[in-house]
Symmetry: C5
């Protein structure tokens, strides 16, 4: 594992207020793989997709499952919304850090102009002992004005309470579709920068992907020829001093999952956020894959916060 000089380590967190630094260091160094990496377990699928994501592993329908798993497997934090945080987190308080996801929406209404409304506040997060809050921003949505205004309130409360702000930067909406789509390098890169500009301490991105639609992206993206790892590195740079975690999305096979994890860390990402890829497995299989993920992470880290 490559270790950066202490001065370099200092740079990314140096500007953070004491409250933010205290909480973020807990995620980076005291829980999860440690050494400045982040391994998050998201359990917001019940809002975003409904219970259907739980059928492949019926035991996973009980939120208790994910909380116990996050604690036992040694995650950096578990990310969930207010209902789960209120009714399931108390039993695990202190055993695994909590990221209170502040907004969310169902996938039922049309998604051409999405916005994710807040169902909880930073103050709720403080009250519950959370170490960070999460906010989903639909970058490029026709309703981005409302989104930015809502996000401003969250960001200001984070500054007030010293609470780290993690932005789920999700390019969305008709105009994004016309410029290469939500997962295009252009869109993900723009999302990374926007999140940092809006005050994120950590940015959560989906993996940039390549397709024929990339030719519709603005220059120079429409003519760039880069590997996925290079694209990730660009996105990490666009996020500047904000840390970047990438997500796995729907379930992939083990080899791909581990290879992707290594690539993310080597491209400068600070970690991964793996949900269905892990908890749609049987309990012990889940523990095993997490163990492998953590080893890969620690051996591939390229950027210390």
């Amino acid at each position: 594992m490559e270790i950066k000089a202490i001065t370099e380590q200092k740079s990314l967190l140096a500007q953070l207020s004491p409250g933010k630094r205290t909480r973020l260091r807990r995620l980076l160094f005291e829980f999860g793989p440690g050494s400045g990496t982040l391994l998050f377990l998201p359990i917001d699928q019940g809002i975003e997709h409904g219970p259907r994501d739980f059928f492949p592993n019926p035991a996973s329908k009980d939120p208790e499952y994910q909380f116990r798993f996050a604690a036992e497997a040694g995650y950096s934090a578990i990310a969930c919304e207010i209902g789960l945080a209120s009714k399931y987190y108390p039993d695990y308080a202190g055993q695994v850090p909590l990221i209170l996801k502040l907004n969310g929406k169902t996938d039922v209404p049309p998604a051409n102009a999405p916005i994710s409304p807040c169902n909880a506040s930073v103050e709720d997060a403080v009250r519950l002992g959370a170490d960070a809050v999460g906010y989903t921003s639909y970058v490029g949505s026709p309703r981005q004005e409302e989104d930015f205004v809502q996000l401003r309130g969250v960001r200001q409360d984070c500054d007030r309470f010293g609470m780290p702000l993690i932005i789920w930067a999700y390019p969305r909406g008709e105009a994004i579709d016309k410029r290469g789509g939500r997962d295009s390098f252009y869109a993900v890169d723009y999302g990374a920068r926007i999140a940092m500009e809006m005050g994120a301490d950590v940015v959560k991105l989906n993996m940039p992907k390549f397709s024929d639609k990339d030719k519709d992206s603005p220059a120079p993206y429409n003519e760039m020829d880069v590997s996925q790892e290079e694209a990730i590195r660009h996105c990490v740079e666009s996020a500047g001093r904000a840390l970047v975690v990438l997500s796995g999305g729907s379930k992939v096979d083990d080899e791909q999952l581990l290879a992707q994890t290594r690539m993310i860390l080597e491209a400068g990402g600070s970690g991964v956020i793996y949900g269905r890829n892990v908890w749609q497995r049987e309990w012990n299989a889940g523990l095993e894959i997490v163990e492998q993920i953590k080893e890969i992470m620690l051996s591939s880290v390229r950027r210390m916060p």
Copy 2:
């Protein structure tokens, strides 16, 4: 009557704040059938449908009728909106608990993008001595963003005042209609999870039903072959540590009503909410059927809160 171990009983209410636990236990153990069950009398039809629901039993037009009935028949609580709570509840204060329903709407304007606006606050409920508040969430409505924001305020006030939150989880809107409809297993199951994720302590659902339109539901619902009782059990599980009550809807015959009550309790539901099925009857007939319902409930309870 099956009695669960004290430790199991503790689990569902254990995470609640003292205020919520005090009030909710009143409904579960001190009033109504007791033993951790819930039997609610709703009298919000005057808003939702207008006076037309009262013509089958003209005496029922006077709200006094339902209040006296709820007290005499021994309900766990009566649920109504601010006008009735202000002008009729005072005479029954302490004799039957009050659930102040905070929002409501007429059925006059088009229902393609419904939202139910709040006409009262949690503070109103505290002032009136209510033991819970009720909130109708139109899950999946195109206006769900506004709904979630409004619900956030209610939920936060409930946390502040220690007031139990009962969410009427009603899937609605065009997009729900295209996915199997408001009473489909898919929709009711999603609604149950959303209510819990948003912070409900009790979830009120309509009975899941099966129809040809189920094939339009997302996988795996479009191909599942389950009984109604199994479907209810799934919904109860989706609501997690939130308790579930199911409603009867329009008037059905006695046998069906009792059979349904038994099925609900055996599937893990914590109770029922019966309005027109009861107060559209003559007074004594109403008292009799409630007596039978309570017996069935106590003999069928499968899940202690």
Copy 3:
């Protein structure tokens, strides 16, 4: 004049807070015909229709006319909006009670989705020494959600200040038109219930009327065969413990006006609100007809508040 037992009298006002009872009793017993009846003079036509209503009696264009008339003729109260209340009421303070009408709109823009915006607050009413506030709710309008939210604020302020709330319940909008129209028995009856459910202490209704369009009303209204007096009685019952006053609308002949007054009181209404029918007359003619109206009211009262 039929006098009810003291216990019956007590029932309708019994649940009101001291402030509401103090003020409402002033209207019911100290001013106007007395004996628990209500005779209101509305002077909000300048907003709702513009000055054109004043041309039949040019003297009536000066608001001074209606204020002096209400005081001299002995009305229970005069109802007007903030401008008149600020500039004309002070000279009559203590001589005739004031109902501050809190919202209003012109009849200029299209009326398919009406809402009546508040131009004054309950606190304004307190400051001006008013004994009640008036609020127009367009029941069934596509914008009823905004209406209910606005009304909630007014109702809560009324509770806070002990100020009686009079709701002008006006069914309106496209959906009402398709169900029999704004003056149909169905619509007026629904309006009466909604007003009570929303917390009205007094409900102002327009006279229910019958037409061919009644067959478009929901059951059982589409097939009911009742007299106008029976319809009014139903509406009074739907308003429960809220008192009901009915309005005369545009000018009718004397006999009809008096007959209608008698019918309203005998059907359980608590009073009438007569504007143009009175102040579009010459001064002395106005005083004379009011004298007759008051006699009829006192001789026909059927329901003591």
Copy 4:
């Protein structure tokens, strides 16, 4: 100059709070022509039309021009928006009263549903030492609900601070166009009444005009045969105890300007608001015409406030 009895003089201002009376008397008696008249200089054209209005007299582009002119020529007050009031008024503080115009808009976007958003508050006016605030209400606009709500806030702050409220009552929007148009007698008369009903202390109207479209106005306006002076007198009556000032609009010739001034005052108007008609002239020509206007005003006054 006709002088009214002291009792009559008292009537119009008698109901005003001490703060309003103090400030309004300054405009009526201490500055301008005096004797209870009002001569206002508006310099809001830079917002409403852009700099193009200043080209006929290039010197007028510098706001200093209008401020110095208002002070030297002896106006009752100068009316402008926050930017000019902040940067140019301080040099003339105490030399000419300030009316802070609180809202304004460009003429660029389509005007079918206008609303004029507030860019300053009554508190700004207090801070700047203004003696009145101005508010433009687009009477009859499809967005009048928002307008009334915004105006309510302004009116309440005026009551709180004792600040006179001048409403620019401008009938506007598609529905007004269909009823005779913005300058029709019907529209101006309705506007006058609305302004008074909403709490104006002074109403600013445009001159009512006659056209073929008057036949589209509601009865009795569609068939009335009145002179312009009679029409103005009607509008003054509709404004009740609120004072009325009329504007000149775009530049007309001297004779017409003076004749119009005389007519306005003789019809009961309290004054005029002349902008481009004056400051589009060369400096000395401006001073001269103002002198003539003031003479005419003082010799024609018919109604003392």
Copy 5:
């Protein structure tokens, strides 16, 4: 360098509050070229356009680049949004003044009715030690009402905290396109006046340009025949006592850049805001061109603040 008399210098800042004057003088005299000029470095392209603007000079993707450059090259201030200000400005605190840009938007959604939502507050700027705030107003946009209301809040906070307000006055929207376009003399001139009327202390404009579409501008713009320098002078006059800075837009060649700088200053502009024109160059080339710009500015200044 032409030096104006002290009295003239005093005029433009004389009406400013002590807080505004303190901060603005820092930009005008203590940093940058000095002598009352303004040279701003904007780094908001990451929000407005995304990372694509950084590819011509990859080093510029790291915000550290622009901050260090602004400090080393000796700018009057650097303008950026909250994320950069929070994470990068602290290292340069006191070395180069900060303009906190309060609003911004991506260029992804359609721009026919733009509004730029605030992602930070004036209080954020105070907390960060900024010497001014920036606000983008899309003059003429169909959503200008919302814009003006938002701007009012910013302007009032600036007055409260003594914070200079810089308005980016950008004519935009369909109606502007129909009147000659966003860069037409008409549009830029209107924008300059609006910014001043809304309370700007400094106005940022784009260069007015001429095209065939000018004939669609309102009179007299549609027939005016002026040079670009004269047009700028008009715009500077329209901004009155607000100072004017002009921007360079996309990268142009050196000669043009310097000529344009001279023209702006000679036309009365107080300075320039050059972003991509400078930081898309290699480091030393950037420093050199800034040196030349500053010399030109100091030798061409025509108007002292």
